[in-house]
C-alpha cells in the first residue's frame, strides 16, 4: 500500500509542478509549447481510452475539429462566454460520436477503424464548404476571455490534469474493467448480461467528450483554426504519441506526447520533415519497442511487465 501512496504523492507533486510551471509560462513561445504538450497529452489519453476496447479511433481528429469549430462559433461569432463554448464543444462532439459509434461499433473487425478515418476526412471537407465558418481559409479571432489571457497555459494544464484524472479513475473503475474485458473477449462480457455494443458506444462518447474539450482549448490557444488542422494526420500523430509512450498505462500517452511534441520542435528546426518524423516514430516504436517508453522504464526499474493482452481477431 505504501507503494501506491508514494505513487499518488509523486503524481500529485508532478501535477503541482506542471501547474506552477505553466503559471509562469507567460504568453510567448514557452506558453505555446506548454499548451501544445498539454493538449497533445489530453488527445493521446482520449485516443488510448478507446483503445481499452481494442479500437483505433481516428475519428478523434474529427471530434477535436468539431469541438474547435463549435467553441469558435460560440465565442468569436456569437459572443457567448468561454464556459458555454467549452461545454457546447464537448456536447457537440459527444452527441455526434453517439450516432457514429452506434452505427459503426456494432460489429467486431476493422469497420470502426476505417469508418473513423473516413469520418475525419468527411468532416474536414464539410468545414471547407461552409462560408459561415470561413470555408477553406478557416476562422479567425478566437480568443480566450480577457481574464484568462495571462493564465491561459495554467488554465489548460489544470483542465487537462482534471480530465486525465477522470479518465484514469474511469479506467480503474468497474466500467474500465468491462472495457478491457470487451477488448479481450467480448463474447464472455455479453454472456454475463452486459450490453457490449452500448458499452462500446459509451466509451467512444467519453473519449469524444474529452476530444471536444481538447478542440476548444486548442482553438482558443491558436486563435485561428482552419479545416487543414483537423485532418486525419492529427489522429495519426496522436497514435504516434501513444505508440512511443506505450499503451499499457496512462503514463504512456503522457510521456509519449510530451517527448514527441518537444522532439518534433527540434526536428522541425531542420526542415519540413513532419511526415517522416512521425511515420518513423510509429514504425520504430511498433517494431522495436512494443510497450513503448513505459515498457523500457519498467524494465530499467526491474518491474515486471504488466500482463498486456492485445486484441487478435
Amino acid at each position: 500500500m505504501a507503494n501506491s501512496r508514494n505513487t499518488t504523492l509523486a503524481v500529485l507533486t508532478l501535477s503541482l509542478v506542471a501547474l506552477a510551471g505553466s503559471l509562469f509560462a507567460g504568453t510567448g513561445f514557452a506558453a505555446s509549447l506548454v499548451i501544445w504538450v498539454a493538449i497533445n497529452v489530453l488527445l493521446a489519453a482520449s485516443f488510448r481510452f478507446v483503445q481499452l476496447i481494442g479500437e483505433l479511433n481516428f475519428a478523434i481528429a474529427g471530434f477535436v475539429g468539431l469541438g474547435a469549430y463549435m467553441s469558435g462559433i460560440c465565442t468569436a461569432k456569437l459572443g457567448l462566454p468561454f464556459a458555454v463554448a467549452l461545454v457546447s464543444a464537448a456536447l457537440a462532439a459527444t452527441l455526434l460520436s453517439l450516432v457514429v459509434g452506434y452505427i459503426t461499433l456494432r460489429t467486431k473487425g476493422p469497420y470502426f477503424m476505417l469508418i473513423s478515418f473516413a469520418f475525419t476526412e468527411v468532416l474536414r471537407m464539410i468545414y471547407t464548404q461552409i462560408e459561415y465558418i470561413g470555408g477553406n481559409s478557416g476562422m479567425i479571432g478566437i480568443f480566450p476571455p480577457v481574464l484568462l489571457t495571462d493564465y491561459y497555459p495554467a488554465f489548460v494544464v489544470a483542465i487537462v490534469l482534471l480530465l486525465l484524472l477522470a479518465l484514469y479513475r474511469l479506467e480503474q473503475s468497474d466500467f474500465g474493467k468491462v472495457l478491457v474485458a470487451i477488448r479481450n473477449n467480448d463474447a464472455i462480457v455479453q454472456t454475463v448480461g452486459i450490453n457490449v455494443h452500448l458499452t462500446k458506444v459509451l466509451c467512444l462518447a467519453i473519449s469524444s467528450f474529452v476530444a471536444g474539450i481538447g478542440g476548444a482549448l486548442l482553438a482558443h490557444a491558436n486563435n485561428v483554426i482552419s479545416p487543414g488542422d483537423f485532418s486525419f494526420l492529427l489522429a495519426v500523430y496522436t497514435l504516434a504519441y501513444i505508440k512511443v509512450g506505450g499503451e499499457s498505462h496512462i503514463a504512456g500517452p503522457i510521456l509519449g506526447a510530451s517527448v514527441l511534441t518537444l522532439l518534433a520542435q527540434v526536428a522541425m528546426g531542420f526542415g519540413p520533415y513532419e511526415h517522416i518524423f512521425y511515420g518513423a516514430a510509429i514504425v520504430i516504436a511498433v517494431l522495436l519497442m512494443p510497450d513503448g517508453l513505459v515498457g523500457i522504464i519498467r524494465k530499467l526499474l526491474g518491474l515486471a511487465p504488466r500482463a498486456q493482452v492485445t486484441a487478435r481477431h
Binding site: G54, E55, L56, T104, I115, I276, A281, I282, V283, V286
Partner: protein, 291 residues
C-alpha cells in the same frame, strides 16, 4: 440520353481503377487480416516512378507507347520489390494482428509519403497523353487513351477474378481467408500463400497506378485520395469479400461521377459517407459480409 451515356462512361472509367485498388485491399485483409493503410503508397510509388522514368528515357526514336510500357513495367517491378521488402521486414510479424498491423501500416504510409515528398518534390506532374483523339460511345465522349486504359484495367480485374475463382492458388487464397488454421491442416502453406496474397495485392495497386499514369496529375500524396475511397468501397462491400469490393467500387464510382456532375465533388464524398452509414445500419458487415 446523352448525359446518361456520359455518366455511364465516367463511372466505368473511375470504377475500373477503384476495382483494382480495392481488390488488393480486400485480398490482403482476407488472407492476412491486415488492413493495409500503406496500400495507397504503393499506388503512389508507381505513379511517381513512371513520372520520373518517362521523361528520362524519352527520345524521338522511342515511341511513346513503348516508353510507357518500359516505364510501367520497371515501376511495377520496383514497387513489388518494395512490397516484398515491407512484407518480410514488417508485415510478416503482424499477420492476423489487425490493430497492430494497422498501426504499423499507418506509420509506414506516413513515412513513405514523407520520403516521396523529399525525393520527388511537391510539384504535381502531368505526363504527355499516350494516345490522341476522342471517341463517342452511347452518346458520351471519351478520349481514346482513357477507353484503352479502362479496358485494360477491366481485363486485369477479370483475370484476377478468374485467378481467384479457378486456379489452385486462388483456391488456396480463399481457403486461407476463410479459416487459415483449417487451411494449414489441409496442407496449404499459409506463410507462402500470405506472401503471394500480399504481392498480388501490391501488383494490383501498382498496375492501377501504372494505368492511371497518363491521365492523372501526379503528386506525392496521390495515394491518399484513393485510399479513402478504397476503404469506403470495401466497407460497403464487406471486408475480405472479392465480389463485395467490386460492388463497392462500382457504387463509389457511380456516386462520384453522378454526384460530381449534378452537385460538386466534395458533396459526392459526403454522399458516399452517408450511404456507407446507411448500408452499415442495415448490414453491419457490409453488403457481402456475412455474420
Amino acid at each position: 440520353m446523352e448525359i446518361f451515356g456520359q455518366l455511364f462512361l465516367n463511372s466505368l472509367q473511375i470504377s475500373a481503377a477503384y476495382i483494382l485498388f480495392s481488390l488488393g485491399l480486400t485480398l490482403i485483409f482476407g488472407v492476412m487480416k491486415v488492413v493495409n493503410f500503406a496500400h495507397g503508397e504503393f499506388f503512389g510509388l508507381v505513379l511517381l516512378l513512371i513520372a520520373i522514368i518517362v521523361p528520362w528515357i524519352n527520345s524521338p526514336a522511342l515511341p511513346l507507347a513503348l516508353n510507357y510500357a518500359i516505364a510501367g513495367s520497371v515501376s511495377i517491378l520496383a514497387t513489388m520489390a518494395c512490397g516484398w521488402f515491407l512484407y518480410h521486414f514488417a508485415f510478416k510479424k503482424f499477420q492476423r494482428d489487425m490493430v497492430g498491423s494497422f498501426v504499423l501500416s499507418v506509420g509506414l504510409s506516413l513515412l513513405m509519403q514523407g520520403l516521396f515528398l523529399e525525393f520527388f518534390g511537391g510539384v504535381p506532374i502531368k505526363l504527355p497523353d499516350l494516345f490522341e483523339g476522342n471517341l463517342r460511345i452511347l452518346g458520351g465522349a471519351i478520349t481514346t487513351q482513357r477507353l484503352i486504359l479502362t479496358v485494360i484495367a477491366l481485363l486485369v480485374a477479370v483475370a484476377m477474378c478468374w485467378l481467384i475463382a479457378a486456379t489452385k492458388l486462388g483456391k488456396a487464397l480463399r481457403a486461407v481467408a476463410e479459416d487459415h488454421e483449417a487451411a494449414m491442416l489441409q496442407g496449404i502453406p499459409y506463410r507462402k500463400i500470405a506472401l503471394y496474397g500480399f504481392l498480388i495485392a501490391t501488383f494490383l495497386a501498382a498496375i492501377a497506378g501504372a494505368l492511371l499514369a497518363p491521365v492523372t496529375v501526379i503528386s506525392a500524396n496521390v495515394g491518399s485520395d484513393f485510399l479513402i475511397k478504397g476503404f469506403i468501397a470495401i466497407v460497403i462491400g464487406g471486408l475480405g469479400s472479392i465480389p463485395g469490393s467490386i460492388i463497392g467500387s462500382i457504387l463509389i464510382a457511380v456516386i462520384e461521377s453522378v454526384g460530381g456532375y449534378y452537385f460538386d465533388p466534395s458533396l459526392a464524398t459526403l454522399a458516399m459517407f452517408v450511404i456507407t452509414m446507411l448500408v452499415l445500419l442495415v448490414r453491419p458487415k457490409g453488403i457481402m459480409g456475412n455474420g
